[in-house]
């Protein structure tokens, strides 16, 4: 990688983000020289150098690795084991949680809300991600042009994130209220929807409303990260491209998009991973209702664990969610790798 000329290298040299199993070409793993410039060194020197490199790398990684093991390893293993056990409130006092094998998984998959929750999870995730990403990217591109007050306005964009979710949830419920909500008052005022649609209380609209609020929440994240990515694309590339006649859409297509790709991957992969487990905003707005219209795997898992105190089933559903997340990431990263390589 390092042998490539800087410019053409950029596409590849900006490594894949999240869990990209593919940052480095597989061929390069064992035996390839640690760094291009050093490649000429003698064998022995190379080996000791490699050992030193490895030690240095370990030293850099160690603190974070230790933290990850302590703060994630244990909970995950525990949760995994729990999904094979019969948990009840008594378990907390007696410590007895009989082993039930796949029983919890069978129960949750066969439950009547499971398929509905799966569909809702898919719609919610896809809807939220598409909305957040498209708007976020447009904003990032927009703010890339510098104009008066752009910095301040850009910071203000992050405001929705600063409001505690308890409060923004309550505010959105008022705004979306059927009878007195600001949105319906406005829509009726401009004669757009005089019928006062029940955003949160109609089965056909509730999911849409929840997705819209989640998009609202996600825009700051997307816009900021993508803006950061755009900042790292050198201006000269656009100049070079414009000499070749690539401006506007073409410049975006051939310069911006390829160079932004790694950051896009971070945003999309993390976005999906975060969105798929979203719980608080749905519970705050509709609590999964009306009539399961906004029930997702995450809310269902929560209800099982914390309302019915069936922690085994809750954990099983949670693990199904993690598995879906994982599957998506692996498939996406693999596909993306292929696309980049081509």
């Amino acid at each position: 990688m390092a042998d490539r000329p800087p410019l053409s290298g950029t596409t590849h040299a900006i490594p894949q983000p999240a869990g990209s199993t593919r940052t480095r070409p597989p061929a390069g793993a064992p035996g390839s020289p640690p760094a291009g410039d050093q490649g000429e060194g003698r064998r022995a020197g190379r080996r000791s150098l490699r050992r030193r490199e490895r030690l240095a790398a370990a030293a850099f990684l160690l603190p974070a690795a230790a933290y990850m093991v302590l703060f994630f390893g244990y909970p995950v293993v525990k949760n995994f084991l729990m999904s094979f056990q019969k948990y009840s409130t008594s378990t907390f006092y007696t410590g007895e949680a009989p082993w039930v094998g796949l029983g919890n998984y069978r129960s949750v998959v066969h439950s009547s809300v499971f398929s509905k929750a799966m569909l809702n999870t898919a719609l919610f995730t896809v809807g939220s991600i598409v909305g957040q990403f498209v708007i976020g990217l447009s904003l990032a591109l927009f703010f890339r042009r510098r104009f008066p007050l752009s910095g301040v306005l850009r910071s203000l964009l992050l405001l929705p994130w600063l409001i505690p979710l308890i409060v923004s949830g309550a505010v959105w419920r008022w705004i979306l209220d059927k009878d007195n909500g600001a949105l319906n008052r406005f829509l009726a005022g401009v004669h757009l929807a005089p019928g006062h649609p029940g955003w949160l209380v109609t089965t056909s609209l509730a999911l849409v409303a929840v997705i819209l609020v989640n998009i609202w929440l996600g825009i700051p994240f997307n816009a900021t990260i993508l803006y950061g990515g755009l900042q790292d694309i050198p201006e000269e590339l656009y100049e070079a491209a414009s000499l070749d006649g690539a401006t506007g859409w073409k410049a975006f297509r051939y310069v911006t998009w390829p160079l932004l790709r790694p950051v896009v991957s971070v945003v999309l992969v993390l976005g999906v991973v975060y969105t798929i487990k979203v719980l608080d905003i749905i519970l705050g707005l509709t609590n999964g209702g009306p009539a399961h219209a906004t029930e997702t795997i995450a809310t269902q898992s929560y209800h099982l664990s914390f309302q019915q105190f069936d922690f085994g089933q809750g954990a099983a559903l949670g693990n199904i969610l993690i598995a879906i997340s994982l599957l998506f990431s692996v498939v996406y990263l693999r596909a993306n790798r292929r696309a980049v390589d081509e």
């Binding site: 006092y93 410590g95 419920r173 009878d179 719980l279 209702g289 399961h292 922690f311």
Partner: protein, 417 residues
């Protein structure tokens, strides 16, 4: 939980429920106690009892603090109290159960008692010579698990029909007493931006709590909700919504939201509890009255659900402290304390002998108090299985209210899971 406490802010409850799942290994021994336990009775110093409850806001917070301090002083102890938000009480209790750090004195919402008692974390009160004699039957039922009394509830509450006197007077109608009257009156009172009727009907236990008086009074039962009686009760709500007398927003309202609507004059009648009195009293120009919940037919006895919190003594290492805690429970339940707590918290005493004199002191509380002797505990019949039934109930009325199925199909589908 009766009041909106548990479900009040769903966002919070979403996040609010952490548990010490990890410590389920069992005997993690005494562990370090999060709150200083104070010296044990062995020393000469005053014993400090650790108390856990969910009255974390004034005025309730202070009222309970004073009551607890007073009773502890009588027993010769001090208290160190932790008041957590309502939604996080049970998770906290489970955490403490698994890490063996349960408090000496624990308040539970009454429908939760049996579930906690079933874990073995509570001490039966007969060990301390405490009985439920003289208490309303429903109240004792809720605090009883497998024939043993595990808690005592100094005060209770329930829901009733609260109506805007001015609006009803202007229309020249009386508060409805039957379902037919309710539908007619609600329809008549619905005009402009005002709905005739408001009730909280969300997809959670709060919604179930609101639905119970209609279901129970009509002869429905939580053991099997696939019955015409339950379907009829569902149909009543559906009719009210179809008529336009009940806003569709009810599907997402909390009890506090309903109260807001009523207070602002957007609802002429509502189903709600006496804990709303302070807010209603503070609203300028609001003239309200309270009536019993309408029954299916004239003269039928209303069966309302019992709310309120029960006080328990958890299993801890220290026998002396347990005895002291039991004394505090007893003291909180003395006649004087019951009346005092009920008065200050706008709730109702649980000893039947106190009801008559108490309700005469406050005309607003009378309709509530009148329902107490026949009121039912949610867990009276199913005990620890109540949450499953409660889920079926709200699933049923939500399905029907959103127009997905008929009332009959809704109860059938919900019952069959």
């Amino acid at each position: 939980m009766t009041r909106s406490r548990r479900t009040r802010v769903a966002v919070a409850s979403a996040l609010a429920l952490p548990l010490a799942l990890a410590a389920c290994g069992g005997s993690s021994g005494g562990g370090t106690q999060p709150t200083a336990g104070g010296s044990s009775a062995a020393g000469g110093a005053t014993t400090t009892l650790r108390v856990l409850d969910y009255y974390n806001n004034d005025p309730g917070k202070t009222v309970w603090q004073k009551a607890l301090e007073g009773c502890a002083a009588q027993a010769g102890a001090k208290i160190s109290r932790e008041a957590v938000p309502g939604a996080s009480l049970i998770p906290k209790v489970l955490q403490q159960a698994s890490s063996r750090t349960l408090p000496d004195l624990l308040m539970l919402d009454n429908p939760d008692l049996q579930q906690i008692a079933a874990t073995g974390a509570l001490i039966p009160l007969d060990q301390f010579g405490i009985t439920g004699d003289g208490f309303a039957k429903g109240v004792v039922d809720a605090s009883t698990y497998k024939g043993k009394l595990y808690g005592l509830q100094p005060s209770t509450n329930t829901i009733a029909l609260i109506y805007n006197k001015d609006i009803l007077d202007k229309a020249g109608v009386k508060p409805p007493t039957t379902w037919d009257e309710l539908k007619a009156t609600a329809k008549q009172l619905t005009k402009g931006g005002t709905y005739g009727f408001a009730v909280s009907a969300p997809a959670n236990y709060e919604g179930t709590w609101q639905f119970l008086p209609f279901m129970w009074t009509n002869g429905g039962d939580e053991k099997d909700i696939n019955t015409p009686q339950v379907a009829q009760a569902v149909q009543l709500w559906v009719d009210l919504m179809k008529d336009g007398s009940l806003s569709k927003s009810a599907l997402n309202w909390t009890q506090a939201d309903v109260n807001d609507q009523f207070k602002a004059g957007k609802a002429a009648m509502m189903i709600n509890g006496p804990w709303q009195f302070p807010v209603l009293d503070a609203a300028k120009g609001l003239n309200y009255g309270v009536a019993q919940i309408p029954a299916p037919k004239a003269g039928e006895k209303v069966v309302a659900p019992l709310g309120g919190e029960t006080w328990t003594v958890p299993q801890t290492k220290d026998k002396d402290k347990q005895a002291l805690a039991a004394k505090v429970v007893q003291c909180l339940n003395s006649d004087e304390s019951q009346l005092n707590l009920a008065k200050q918290n706008d709730t109702i005493p649980t000893k039947t002998a106190l009801l008559a004199s108490f309700s005469s002191t406050n005309p607003h509380i009378k309709a509530f108090a009148d329902q107490i002797p026949t009121a039912r505990a949610r867990t009276g019949e199913l005990g620890a299985d109540w949450p499953k039934a409660a889920t079926k109930i709200y699933t049923a009325f939500q399905a029907a209210l959103t127009g997905q199925t008929s009332a009959a199909d809704a109860v059938k589908q919900a019952q069959n899971g």
